[in-house]
Amino acid sequence: MNRSRRLIATAAAISVLGVGLAFSSRLTGTARAAVGPIPPEALALPADSSVVMGFDVRALTSSQFYARFGQEGEPGRVEALAEIERKTGLNPERDIDTVVVAIRANATAAKAVAGNQRSENALVFVTGRFDAARLESSIPASGKATKERRDGVTIYREASGKSNGTVALLDAGILIAGDATSVDTFLTNRQTGRGIRDSKELVALLERVEPGSTFWAVGGPSVLSRMTSEIGGPAANLPAVKQVVAYGHLDPEVGMTATAEAADAKSATKIADVLRGFSAMLSLQAGQKAELAQIADSISVATEDDKVHVKATITHDLIDSLKKSATSSHNRARKAIEEAEVH
C-alpha cells in the first residue's frame, strides 16, 4: 500500500470511528430511553400536551446562582418550590430531582377560555425521594382528601369539592399531580405504553432541547397563539408563532436560548424586529440604569428562514447589580411616601 492510500485509509478510519462513536453514544446513552430532557418514566405524559416544560431542581438548588439568589426575597427564589414545601412537606433542596409540567389545551379548554376560566390541564411530574408517610400527613392537612390504592399506585383525591386536584404517588421516587382527568390519563398511558412518544411533533421539539439544560420549555401553536392574544398590547400584534423551543442554564451565568418558528420568513423578520426594538429600548434607558444597556448587549437576535433565534446571557453580577438598583429605588420611593405622609 503506498503512502497516499495509507493516509486516506487512516483519515477514513478516524472519521468513521469518530462518527460511529458519536452515534453510538446517542444510541446507548440515556437518550435511547428518554425523549430529549423527558425522563423515561415521564413518557406517559399526554401526547396532546401543548406546552411541556421542566427544570432540573437538583441542578438549580446546587447552583451558584441559587446559593446567591435563592433565599427569601431574592430574585432566584422559585415560589413554586416553596409552595410545594408548604403543601406537601417536601423539601425541594433535599427531596426533589426534576420537575416536568405538561399543559394540555384541548377543545374543551378553548371553550373555557372564552368564559375567562382557568382552562389548562396542567400535569406535574416530579422525581425525587418521597416519604409517603409525610405526604399522607400533609395532603389531608392542606384540604380534605381521599386515598385510594390502584395497581400499586397511591392516589389522593381532593374531597372538599372545590377542585378535582389529584396527587398520585407511583413509588417512592415518582409523584404526579394535576386534575383528576390528567392524572388518570397518565396512569392509563403508563399501563398501555402510550404517551408523549405518540406525538412526533412534540418529540421533535423535545429532542431540540440541549441536554444538561437547567430549565427548558417547548410549546406548540395552540397555547402560544393564545398567550400573545391574552398578553395584549404590542404582543397581540405579533405574528403567530408556530412553535417555540427554549432552554437555559444558571451557572456560571444565566443563559437562555430560544428558537421560535413563525408562519413564514416575513413573520420571523417581524418578530425579530420587535425583539431588537425591545433591546434598543433597553439601551436607550441606559442613562437611567446602566445595567439595562448590559442586558440589551447580552441579547442577540438572528433569523433563519421562518425561525427566530434569541440568545441571552446575564452574569450573576449584573443580576446582583439590578437587584441593588431595584432595592434602592424601592427604598427611595418608600421614603418619599413616608415624608409626604408626615407633611
Partner: protein, 268 residues
C-alpha cells in the same frame, strides 16, 4: 513500403480520469504543503484540548464551541483558503512537476485529465479536513454534560457542508487557476475582500457571495454579533445546496472548457 505508426485510441473519459486520479493523488497528498495545511486544520483540535483542560469563563457548552469553530474557523475562513491553495494550483502544479507533459502525451482526453486532477484535489482536501472536524467534535463534546451523542446528526451535516464548500470553492479556484497565470493574489483578494465584507452587507449583496450560502448550511452556528447580527443574511438549506452545487458545477465546466483549449508550453 512504409510502416504506419499505430494510432492509439483515446481512453474513455472515466477510466482515463481514474488513471490520472491515481497519479495525481500521489503528487498532491504526501507532500509538504498537505502537511502544513493539515497542521493548520488540526489547530481547533489542539484548541479544543486546551479548552477542556482550562475551561473558559464564557458560558458556552462544548457543542457551542464546536459550532463556533465549524462556522467561523472551518467554513468561513480555512476551507476557502485550503481550496485556494490546492484548487488554483491544480494544473500549474502538474505543469511544474511535468506530470502534465506525461498526461498530454498519453491517449487520455483533457476532460479526463481535469476530472482526474479535480478528483485527486477533492480526496486530498477531504482526507485532511474530515478527521480534523470529527476530532474537534469529539474533543469538545465527549465527557461534557451534553455527552458525545449530542449533535451527532449535526456533525454529519457539517461534514457534508464542509465537503460542499470545498467542492464549490475548489471549482471556482480551479477556474481561476486555468484562467490566470498567478491566481493566488486575486484569489486572496476575492476571499478576504469580497467574501469577507460583502457577505455581511445589508440588502441583497450577500446573495452574490459563496460564503453566505456556505454558512447557512451550519444550522447550529452561533449568533452573529454587532453589525453582522443586523445585516447577516441566511438562506434555506435547499437553496444553499442548490446555489453552491450550481456554482461549483458551472465553474468546473468553464475550467474544463478553458483547459481543453489552452496551449501549454512546457519548458525543459
Amino acid at each position: 513500403m512504409t510502416a504506419e505508426a499505430p494510432v492509439l485510441a483515446i481512453r474513455p473519459v472515466w477510466p482515463g480520469a481514474r488513471d490520472v486520479f491515481f497519479i495525481s493523488i500521489e503528487r498532491m497528498l504526501p507532500r509538504a504543503r498537505s502537511f502544513w495545511v493539515f497542521l493548520l486544520l488540526a489547530l481547533p483540535v489542539v484548541l479544543g484540548v486546551l479548552l477542556r483542560i482550562y475551561p473558559p469563563k464564557a458560558p458556552l457548552t462544548g457543542f457551542e464551541f464546536y459550532g463556533v469553530i465549524v462556522a467561523l474557523f472551518f467554513v468561513r475562513n480555512l476551507l476557502p483558503l485550503v481550496a485556494l491553495l490546492f484548487g488554483s494550483a491544480l494544473i500549474s502544479d502538474a505543469v511544474d512537476s511535468k506530470t502534465l507533459t506525461y498526461f498530454l502525451t498519453r491517449p487520455v482526453s483533457r476532460l479526463s485529465i481535469f476530472l482526474g486532477e479535480f478528483g485527486a484535489y477533492l480526496v486530498t482536501v477531504l482526507t485532511l479536513t474530515v478527521p480534523c472536524v470529527v476530532l474537534t467534535y469529539l474533543v469538545l463534546c465527549v465527557g461534557t454534560p451534553q455527552g458525545a451523542g449530542f449533535g451527532a446528526t449535526d456533525l454529519v451535516q457539517d461534514l457534508g457542508a464542509c465537503a460542499l464548500t470545498l467542492f464549490t470553492y475548489g471549482g471556482l479556484f480551479a477556474l481561476l487557476g486555468v484562467s490566470l497565470k498567478k491566481p493566488l493574489i486575486p484569489g486572496l483578494l476575492f476571499l478576504f475582500v469580497w467574501e469577507g465584507f460583502v457577505a455581511n452587507f445589508p440588502g441583497d449583496a450577500p446573495n452574490y457571495t459563496i460564503t453566505a450560502y456556505a454558512r447557512s448550511l451550519i444550522r447550529h452556528r452561533p449568533s452573529e454579533e454587532g453589525l453582522a447580527e443586523l445585516f447577516s443574511k441566511f438562506f434555506g438549506v435547499g437553496e444553499s445546496v442548490l446555489v453552491l452545487g450550481s456554482v461549483g458545477v458551472i465553474s468546473l465546466a468553464l475550467a474544463i472548457w478553458i483547459f481543453s483549449r489552452r496551449e501549454y508550453v512546457i519548458s525543459s
